[in-house]
């Protein structure tokens, strides 16, 4: 472990201790800010009793389904718009306009369409993940070294070959950066989607805890969601590193 990592870990301990001391000294109500040990206890019993696991599973499934669906559709649309000039020019103003639409605000409408439960949350998550992939795929496909383009022309490569063997691999760093953004948004999408229309899942459980004024449980859920996010994000970065290990060093992480 490097010394900076040790310091980072030490900082975490300092923060936890400071939090604990703050709760003790001010005697603040557990309803406002629960003590760290109480949170840890609730977290542990939630995990040990098996109460939290179904919710973790539901939220993870929604997040991954939405992420996969949104990335796949966003990527495909990005490739089509990147390859067909006419469509790109026709649709670009709408793509830009739809960027600023607050997608989560469509949640209530999706509940009308798809009902309460997983489907509407997956759709919201997919919609949120769609845009970074669309935009980054489109950008990645346009950013080709003109010399490499000439090389492929010189070698008589077909359009399909140029796409598959030049544009996609050389745009991969930009496309994967879009995936990274989508991963972060997917967790927000899944949790907030559950706030609006979930029966199960970590977001729905937060709303339930809020109904019971159980701040300690809300804090515990907050930590579970954070861990989930870190795990998926680290996994994405590991995959990205692996895929880009031969690309330009400046473009890789």
């Amino acid at each position: 472990m490097t010394s900076t990592r040790l310091y980072s870990l030490a900082l975490l301990v300092v923060l936890l201790v400071a939090w604990d001391l703050f709760c003790r000294w001010t005697g603040i109500s557990a309803l406002v800010i629960p003590a760290p040990l109480a949170v840890a206890e609730v977290l542990w019993s939630g995990l040990a009793s098996g109460y939290l696991w179904p919710h973790i599973w539901v939220t993870s499934a929604e997040m991954l389904l939405g992420l996969g669906l949104g990335c796949a559709i966003g990527f495909s649309c990005g490739v089509v718009l990147g390859e067909v000039d006419f469509l790109r020019r026709l649709l670009w103003p709408y793509v830009i306009a739809s960027q600023v639409v607050p997608k989560l605000a469509l949640g209530p409408l999706f509940i009308v369409w798809f009902g309460f439960g997983m489907t509407s949350t997956v759709v919201i998550t997919a919609l949120i993940c769609f845009f970074p992939l669309l935009e980054n795929t489109l950008t990645g496909l346009q950013l080709i070294d003109p010399r490499k383009r000439d090389l492929f022309r010189m070698l008589g490569a077909s359009r399909w070959q140029t796409l598959a063997r030049l544009k996609l691999p050389s745009g991969l760093p930009v496309i994967l950066a879009g995936v990274r953004v989508a991963v972060v948004l997917a967790l927000v999408g899944a949790v907030v989607g559950e706030f609006i229309g979930g029966r199960e899942g970590l977001g729905a459980t937060i709303i339930a805890a809020q109904g019971m004024m159980d701040s300690t449980l809300m804090f515990a859920l907050f930590f579970v969601i954070t861990f989930l996010g870190i795990a998926v994000y680290q996994f994405t970065i590991a995959v990205e590193r692996r895929l880009l290990r031969h690309h330009q060093k400046g473009l890789a992480l």
Binding site: R147, K148, D150, F152, M154, P169, H247
Partner: protein
């Protein structure tokens, strides 16, 4: 018989002034011609016109008697930078021209390996481009241009970014390789000594036009010691004066 036959070609980017202006040039089959000129005088543009990557606004280009209407498989092009695919290993980069045309056979692989061996990087075929030095990358680019057995090789300052020692090694290797195959070569450089060492004939370009042509009547094969020969230096001086002439006038 002229393999490359350029007659009165001109080219302008957009509405700007002509970058290549009424250039005539013939290269006999198997000859090695060099084009020297200052940066920005239109050398790359002329090479792209010869390759069919650009279409001339006037004049015509013939290769092997046939008019050029686009890039052709029997022409190899080496770009100013190695232009390798960073995500493919060296051997796959060399085989790219073949794999774009169809399946790669075991013989193709053997030939690629042999080319890399001749260029002195036979043991690097599994490496990736970013794990190579600049000189090694240039060698890979040359191997890629030669793998299809081109009859015409167009080279755009391929050694410009290399140190003097590496450049001299590559010049010697290139001469060996093209001599073995009677490849016709048009080689662009801004280095006069490089041009004189490589070429049968050197053309000096300025502001889009060929200002002077200079025969190099030195026998082949040419050894590295030639660079210290009085005749060689006299030819370099001639070429340099041809480049300076309009400024002195």
């Amino acid at each position: 018989m002229n393999f490359l036959d350029i007659a009165g070609i001109s080219y302008a980017y957009g509405d700007e002034a002509s970058v290549v202006d009424a250039v005539d040039w013939d290269i006999p089959t198997g000859a090695f011609h060099c084009l020297v000129g200052r940066s920005g005088c239109g050398k790359t543009t002329l090479l792209k016109l010869a390759a069919g990557l650009l279409v001339p606004s006037a004049g015509r280009v013939r290769i092997d008697g046939r008019p050029v209407d686009g890039p052709r498989p029997d022409v190899g092009f080496v770009f100013q930078a190695p232009t390798l695919l960073e995500w493919r290993p060296v051997l796959e980069n060399v085989l790219l021209p073949i794999s774009l045309r169809g399946a790669v056979s075991a013989e193709d692989r053997a030939r690629a390996g042999e080319l890399l061996h001749l260029l002195g990087i036979g043991d690097l075929e599994a490496r990736y481009p970013l794990e190579l030095s600049g000189g090694q990358q240039s060698r890979v680019a040359i191997a890629r241009a030669l793998i299809g057995g081109p009859d015409l090789l167009l080279m755009d300052e391929p050694f410009a970014a290399l140190d003097a020692m590496t450049r001299e090694e590559l010049q010697a290797d290139l001469l060996d390789l093209v001599a073995a195959r009677t490849t016709t070569v048009l080689f662009v450089t801004h280095d006069i000594a490089e041009a004189v060492f490589l070429a049968d004939r050197v053309a000096v370009m300025e502001a889009g036009a060929i200002r002077a042509r200079l025969e190099v009547p030195i026998a082949r094969p040419r050894a590295a010691e030639l660079r210290h020969d009085a005749r060689f230096n006299a030819l370099c001086l001639d070429a340099r004066q041809a480049m300076r002439a309009p400024l002195a006038a």
